[in-house]
């Protein structure tokens, strides 16, 4: 990253930090969820965009993260911030374990297996032997955290800032992971897994690890989402959560870090607008957008932005040369 880019990113983060002081509490809550989705989408993008493993069941890891946080707060009285590492750990292990058998599956079959996971998870959450912890169909209600140290802001604003801090941390970690040795190995496996193996990459290890890390990101997002919404229930984690994530990464841009943010904005705010037309409208729009993007803009919004910037830069260069 050049110095200019660092300044730009820092300015963006600062601007994002100013949002809760400029808009209503409800909008702040919506932006909190946007950040939550951005983390989840980044997780899915690590797996699907960078490593080429298709997952149609990431809603399951989102749910596991959410339930981990909710159970720890509800049953063990843990403070909200302390639940995040646990949610991350539980999902890392869950993702790694699911990734092991998934190693033998490729493409379509992996999509199938993860789809099955996404569809069947709500039923597992309702299982009556787990009801003691999960609250069964009723779910779990948790309390909204108060701002610490007597800060003069309201809980919604605090939660937004807290989520923003976590999101920035997760994005920096992902950026570091992807430009290093492991990131290059992940991309190599996606593009040519036989060549990658021939070059000495432990493909089995990298693929399961990618699955674990991806699940971890989504799990942290799930935990933050549960804290923000203050409620978890099995039926809010149906297969459509996984599909929303897929919509997010395709629209935002596959294999792109900034794409996670565009995708999150899309899946948070487009349904809000479309809801006014009809209850079915958001999904109809999601479906049509998926088709349009796949046919016309396969790189997503991030790809379009990149192309537009490159064109602008070229024009500026031409102008400076001609004068």
């Amino acid at each position: 990253m050049s110095r200019r880019q660092i300044i730009l990113v820092a300015a963006l983060v600062l601007a994002a930090g100013a949002i809760p002081f400029l808009v209503s509490d409800y909008r702040t809550f919506q932006f909190t969820l946007t950040l939550v989705y951005a983390i989840a989408l980044l997780g899915l993008n690590l797996l699907t965009g960078y490593n080429g493993q298709i997952s149609l069941g990431h809603g399951a890891f989102y749910a596991i993260g959410a339930y981990t946080a909710a159970i720890l707060m509800d049953q063990y009285g843990m403070p909200y911030w302390a639940t995040l590492p646990f949610a991350a750990l539980v999902c890392l292990v869950a993702g790694f374990l699911f990734g092991l058998p998934a190693l033998r599956l490729e493409g379509l079959y992996l999509a199938l297996a993860t789809f099955a996971l996404g569809v069947s998870l709500p039923a597992l959450l309702k299982y009556h032997h787990l009801e003691k912890w999960t609250g069964g169909v009723q779910g779990i209600v948790i309390n909204k955290p108060d701002p610490p140290f007597g800060l003069p802001i309201n809980p919604d604003q605090w939660l937004y800032l807290f989520t923003l801090a976590v999101a920035v941390l997760m994005f920096v970690l992902a950026w570091n992971l992807l430009r290093g040795r492991i990131g290059r190995a992940m991309i190599a496996i996606r593009d040519q897994h036989i060549a990658a193996e021939a070059m000495g990459i432990n493909t089995a290890m990298v693929k399961s690890l990618a699955f674990g890390v991806s699940a971890m990101y989504t799990g942290v997002a799930g935990a933050l989402g549960a804290i923000a919404i203050q409620y978890v229930a099995p039926d809010s984690f149906n297969i459509f959560v996984s599909i929303v994530f897929l919509v997010g990464i395709v629209i935002g841009g596959l294999a792109s870090i900034s794409g996670a943010i565009y995708g999150a904005l899309f899946i948070q705010f487009v349904p809000n607008i479309a809801d006014e037309i009809s209850r079915a409208a958001p999904w109809a729009i999601f479906g049509v957008f998926l088709l349009v993007f796949v046919y016309l803009m396969p790189m997503g919004v991030a790809g379009a932005v990149r192309m537009a910037l490159a064109r602008l830069a070229r024009k500026a260069q031409n102008r400076s040369q001609s004068t």
Binding site: T48, G52, I54, L56, P101, R104, L105, G107, L108, Y109, A111, L112, A113, F115, A116, L117, V119, S120, A123, L124, K126, Y127, H128, I194, I239, I243, L246, V250, L254, S278, R279, A280, A281, P282, W283, A284, F286, G287, V288, L290, L291, V294, Y295, P298
Partner: protein, 289 residues
């Protein structure tokens, strides 16, 4: 023992429905080597079509036939318009297109017909006609599945068009050289699959009631059934369907409880894919590196 027999027969009845949908999945897999995630929603959409016909006063069986024809046309159109442009794209693109199709069909149905749950009539009488262990709808569903399988077998075995479709699926290049229009054969495969799926939808709707999300669980069992039987083998898929239906019912009733029934499908899918990806009757696929 009575209760056990009852569960097995009830399992066979739902198994027949899974078998039909699994058969539809196998049709598309054979033709294009793709697994259609929207198969369930296509069946659901066709079932709504049947529902509107019956509601408009049409008798059951004409409505049934008309729906099968409608589903066939729908399948062909979807293949020609939506699937054709991405035929040779990477798997991710195709999966995304299938998911888009699923979402669009689901929301359009909800939009047009509303999300309220509707009842759907069964063509079979209410009083048991196949003995006390099985409802007449269950027995009828098994019968319908077997008839569909028989018709398909006859079609592929004895008609020139069936032969052409098999040729197009097995070796597209050679088939094209002898004058078969491979593209249209694939579209026909989609049409047949959609038609079979619509039968499954109309058979399952009296049991689970009609709503836009009714096929979610059924599709999962159908995936499991197709994989257990071998995803490239129609007979295997039907066998798998009955097997999954019985397993689901017996395990649900006596071992794990009804809440975990869907988990049976999950375990079967992952288990088969990991241990024996070709299923019981499928051909082992070898890829050249």
């Amino acid at each position: 023992m009575d209760a056990f027999l009852h569960q097995v027969l009830a399992g066979l009845a739902t198994g027949g429905i899974y078998a039909s949908l699994a058969l539809a999945l196998v049709m598309i897999y054979q033709a294009t080597h793709l697994v259609n995630f929207a198969q369930g929603e296509m069946a659901m959409f066709a079932t709504y079509f049947a529902w509107s016909l019956i509601n408009a006063g049409m008798p059951y069986w004409p409505a049934f036939l008309l729906t099968v024809v409608f589903a066939f046309v729908l399948g062909v159109v979807i293949e020609r318009v939506i699937i054709r442009p991405v035929e040779n794209s990477p798997v991710l693109v195709i999966v995304v297109v299938f998911i888009a199709l699923l979402v669009i069909l689901n929301s359009v149905t909800g939009w047009v017909f509303s999300y309220t749950i509707k009842t759907f009539p069964s063509p079979f009488p209410a009083e048991p006609i196949f003995g006390q262990y099985i409802t007449s709808h269950g027995g009828g569903a098994i019968g319908v599945t077997l008839v569909v399988l028989l018709l398909l077998y006859a079609f592929f075995r004895f008609t020139p068009l069936g032969l052409a479709m098999r040729a197009a699926a097995q070796n597209p290049e050679s088939a094209r050289l002898v004058g078969i229009r491979v593209g249209w054969m694939l579209a026909l495969g989609w049409g047949l699959a959609a038609a079979i799926g619509s039968v499954a939808g109309m058979m399952v709707a009296p049991i689970v009631f009609l709503d836009p999300n009714m096929m979610g669980g059924v599709l999962l069992y159908a995936f499991a059934a197709a994989l257990v039987g071998g995803i490239d083998n129609p007979g295997g898929a039907v066998f798998g369907g009955f097997l999954v239906g019985v397993l689901e019912n017996v395990l649900g009733a006596f071992v794990i409880g009804n809440e975990l029934k869907l988990a049976v499908a999950l375990v079967l899918i992952i288990g088969v894919l990991v241990v024996k990806p070709s299923g019981i009757f499928g051909k082992v696929m070898v890829t050249r590196v």
